[in-house]
């Protein structure tokens, strides 16, 4: 646990406070105020990210602190899902925002680092950014799957999809991003090390995440909505695999004697 007494820290905490307040106010049935607070939080998140960019002088996606800072700008995804995809979970997104900013605010160090030679590639930004975007989308899919499991349904008369279909739509939106991230990473591996696939733990976990969603598609094709709970469970399992992939280097320290690779 580390509290950051810096401008960067202040920006992160302000965003978190705004998101949390937005969530509480929305739960108290004041959607307009909630929306305004959410938008304010997003504006601060953008300033916070831009500040970091200015500070380190390269696209800040190098370490977990910067990656979580990026994930904190969830608002546009939220808006797109509600307006265009008609998937619910808008209010839950505010909480996702708080959750992803927590590690940036309290866990990971924020010392700026120089880009090591391996990361100096045009693939650095697209590979990581696409992955992070897919993670947000899949997190929303998992929330939808959770709503399905606890039997939540949208209000009558609203144009929001029921959670089972919401999950499917989110996975449809996220899977191409996940595929793109995997393939860009593999192509980068070829360019940097000579191998497009090195079988290292982080690579294998990213493959696991991808495969779980692949299983979701094939299972859902076979049984449709006959086993909705199983569909949802697979989507949630996919998100679990994603979290392990993202944090593997840190988690692997829990298994003594295991190599860890970034």
């Amino acid at each position: 646990m580390e509290i950051k007494y810096t401008i960067q820290g202040l920006l992160v905490y302000t965003t978190m406070a705004a998101y949390l307040l937005a969530f509480v106010v929305s739960m108290l049935r004041k959607p307009k105020t909630g929306h305004a607070l959410y938008l304010f939080g997003f504006a601060v998140a953008v300033v916070s990210y831009a500040y970091r960019w200015y500070d380190v002088r390269h696209v800040p996606l190098q370490n977990l602190f910067e990656v979580f800072l990026f994930l904190g700008m969830i608002y546009p995804v939220s808006l797109f899902c509600r307006r265009v995809l008609r998937v619910g979970g808008y209010v839950a997104d505010m909480l996702i925002g708080v959750i992803v900013l927590f590690p940036a605010g309290f866990v990971f160090h924020a010392e700026p680092q120089y880009l090591p030679p391996a990361l100096q590639s045009w693939l650095f930004t697209p590979h990581v950014a696409v992955y992070m975007l897919s993670y947000i989308v899949m997190a929303k899919a998992a929330v939808q799957a959770g709503c399905q499991l606890i039997g939540k349904t949208p209000k009558r008369g609203s144009d929001i999809l029921p959670p089972e279909q919401g999950t499917y739509r989110m996975v449809l939106a996220g899977f191409p991003l996940l595929t793109l991230g995997l393939i860009l990473g593999s192509y980068w591996g070829k360019l940097a090390w000579g191998d497009y696939w090195g079988w290292d733990p982080k690579e294998l976990w990213s493959l696991v995440s991808w495969l779980v969603f692949l299983a979701y598609f094939h299972f859902r094709y076979m049984f449709g909505r006959k086993h909705p709970n199983m569909n949802s469970l697979l989507a949630i399992l996919g998100m679990v695999a994603i979290i392990i992939t993202l944090l593997w280097v840190n988690l692997s320290k829990l298994f003594p004697g295991l190599h860890s690779y970034a």
């Binding site: 590639s121 449809l172 595929t179 793109l180 733990p201 696991v208 094939h218 076979m222």
Partner: protein
């Protein structure tokens, strides 16, 4: 047929779940053992079954051929599997391809070699192979984010600063003349030859970074002085201006660069590139990667030479898979929506 399709779909699901579980296992055993595991004979059986199931799927399910996105994703997967097998060690052996798949080359500065050391199985040492051409290392260098600086106190008490690179000059004013960096040392040593002291770069382990600075007064002869980063003031000549070689100790590395030339059997230079991490040299079906270097004195580079005949097939599969999923999951829905919107607008 219906029953066959059902069995096939179950098989697909089982195969996907199996690979998921095996990958989790692979993640726990570390990269090296995982690589061996996924290339072992039972794994090869798995890969073949997966490929056959995918092909059977394309034959059995009309939709997988008719729907372009689904065709691209499944056919793309087949290509990735084929390409992976072609490029694997077993693939090379089975197809009688005797080009060197992967190995390391150590080259000293100014030297050339065609020798590649190919690692045998764990703990069994190396095989030596020869490429049909030579690779020459002209220079290996490391670049840093924070360069070292030479600081000189000029006559009026001011301090001037330049980046510590050969050729950099400082104007010291009308009284003291000019200073110029003429040589840089990573490990400065002194030798006595014929009663004359000469500074030289010691290739042996050790670190004694220094600069040779030539000072030319307005009238008079140029003299050379040595400035040491670890021993400020050492050997300072009281007649010369005060100098300091300011260099951070643990500097972040920004680049490893090997200046390479490829020389054919007739001694002609046929390719040339300064390679860095992420920027390999391609020649004659091989790619040469910056892999490692002489950590002590920076006198040699270690390259990885790789040839992979499966690459074009794998990358074609990647393209098809990417275009396929984007087409099937995003664009086809988008087009459907636009079409249905047009229809409702038309009514």
């Amino acid at each position: 047929m219906k029953k066959f399709r059902r069995i096939l779909m179950w098989l697909a699901l089982v195969l996907i779940i199996m690979l998921t579980i095996l990958s989790v296992y692979g993640a726990f055993i570390g990269a090296e053992r995982a690589q061996g595991f996924f290339n072992s004979a039972p794994s090869v059986v798995y890969w073949v079954v997966l490929g056959v199931a995918l092909i059977a799927g394309l034959v059995a399910f009309r939709r997988l051929i008719r729907v372009p996105g689904l065709l691209l994703t499944h056919a793309g997967c087949i290509l990735i599997l084929i390409g992976g097998m072609l490029g694997s060690e077993k693939g090379y052996r089975v197809s009688g391809n005797d080009t060197t798949r992967k190995g390391l080359m150590q080259i000293d500065e100014g030297q050339s070699t065609n020798r590649v050391f190919v690692r045998k199985k764990e703990g069994q040492g190396h095989d030596m192979k020869e490429l049909p051409f030579f690779v020459k290392l002209n220079d290996f260098r490391i670049e840093y984010y924070e360069p070292g600086y030479l600081e000189i106190e000029t006559g009026d008490g001011k301090v001037q600063r330049v980046v510590a690179e050969v050729g950099r000059r400082i104007d010291l004013g009308a009284e003291q003349g000019k200073a110029q960096i003429v040589k840089t040392f990573e490990n400065w040593k002194m030798s006595m030859e014929d009663g004359k002291r000469t500074a030289y770069e010691d290739p042996h382990p050790g670190s004694n970074p220094a600069l040779a600075v030539q000072i030319t007064p307005p009238s008079g002869e140029a003299t050379t002085h040595h400035v040491f980063s670890l021993h400020p003031g050492f050997g300072h000549d009281p007649n010369a201006p005060k100098m300091l070689y300011n260099r951070p100790v643990n500097r972040a590395i920004s680049d490893y660069i090997s200046e390479l030339e490829v020389i054919d059997k007739d001694g002609k230079i046929v390719a040339k590139k300064d390679i860095e991490v992420n920027h390999p040299l391609r020649y004659g079906g091989y790619r040469f990667y910056q892999q490692d270097y002489d950590h002590q004195a920076g006198r040699y580079t270690i390259l990885e030479a790789v040839s992979d005949t499966g690459i074009p097939v794998v990358f074609a599969g990647y393209w098809m898979l990417c275009v396929g999923v984007i087409w099937h999951m995003w664009l086809s829905h988008l087009f459907k929506n636009i079409r249905s919107k047009k229809q409702t607008d038309g009514n």
